[in-house]
């Protein structure tokens, strides 16, 4: 009987910690511990069926889904239509391209992870819907300037436009939601 009371008190403290924690990953790990304690409570209250389901779902599958969602949230996806040999987006030991340096500094400032994808827009589809692309890079055929296309609603695009306003090579275009990128 004492064990049940102690576990219940532990649950209260755990839930307070989960709500008040600022770090997302920590909150998820403590959520997993929370469901483990709940499962042992079910066992002591003579419901082993529920305890088995709670261990499998509550402490393994749900936290994994949360973790994937968090790691997806912190990505800045860039699709480049310029050729791979172009020095604009090059990132090797010897040379770091101008555009790569700009985007790298930009994403580091906002604590995001930069993902650059060479290839076509059509190949980047998720299972149920098309992927949310943050930025498309193209090279203009008329004057050789690099064009960065992004959504008009994104606040990040405004900041990027302000950053590159003095640069002659780079042009930032914002597009309304729902329009096609190409």
């Amino acid at each position: 009987m004492i064990i049940i009371y102690m576990l219940q008190i532990l649950l209260i403290f755990l839930s307070i910690y989960i709500i008040s924690s600022k770090n997302n990953l920590k909150a998820i790990i403590f959520f997993s511990i929370f469901s483990l304690v709940t499962a042992s409570l079910y066992y002591f209250l003579k419901a082993p069926d529920l305890a088995l389901a709670e261990v499998a779902i509550g402490s393994a599958i749900t936290p994994l889904i949360y973790i994937i969602a968090i790691s997806k949230q912190r990505e800045f996806l860039v699709v480049s239509h310029i050729s791979k040999r172009d020095s604009f987006l090059l990132n090797t030991k010897d040379t770091v391209g101008k555009g790569y340096k700009l985007l790298d500094d930009f994403t580091k400032h906002y604590n995001l992870k930069l993902v650059i994808n060479h290839g076509k827009y059509d190949e980047l589809k998720g299972i149920f819907r098309s992927r949310n692309i943050d930025l498309v890079i193209e090279k203009s055929k008329k004057n050789g300037r690099y064009i960065l296309k992004g959504k008009k609603t994104s606040i990040l695009m405004n900041k990027l436009a302000q950053l590159t306003i003095t640069d002659d090579d780079i042009e930032v275009i914002t597009i309304e939601e729902g329009e096609i990128y190409d």
Binding site: A51, L52, A53, A56, I61, I65, A69, K72
Partner: protein, 134 residues
Amino acid sequence: MKTSQILICISRVLFPFIVLYGFYITINGHLTPGGGFQGGAILATAVLLSYFIQPEKIRNLNLLIKLEKYMFIVILIVSSISLFTRGEIFTNFLPINSSINLKSLFLTILNLFIGIKVSTGLVLVFSTFIEEGK
């Protein structure tokens, strides 16, 4: 997501035991606590571990979706066999005066199919989540 070598090694050791435990709970569902749903959830956790071992393992999601749909039909068919053998629907298809061990075959088959359906469903949920933004 970069996974550490220790996690991969421990996952390789644990994987067969989790699969074994999941099948044990599923098949012994009519005698011990657990059953199709719980065993299926444990089997899904085993597949989750296989994502740590080899991230590119599961490619063909359409096959899993088909398997889940077919399982639903199979469960309905198994539960309505009794309409032809005993004249009642949704009950045991074996005659009522046969031995208890024989009669538990019905529950075992049904639990096994429910376990497969639940595990494929849960695997689909988190593999769509993983594949979504690759």
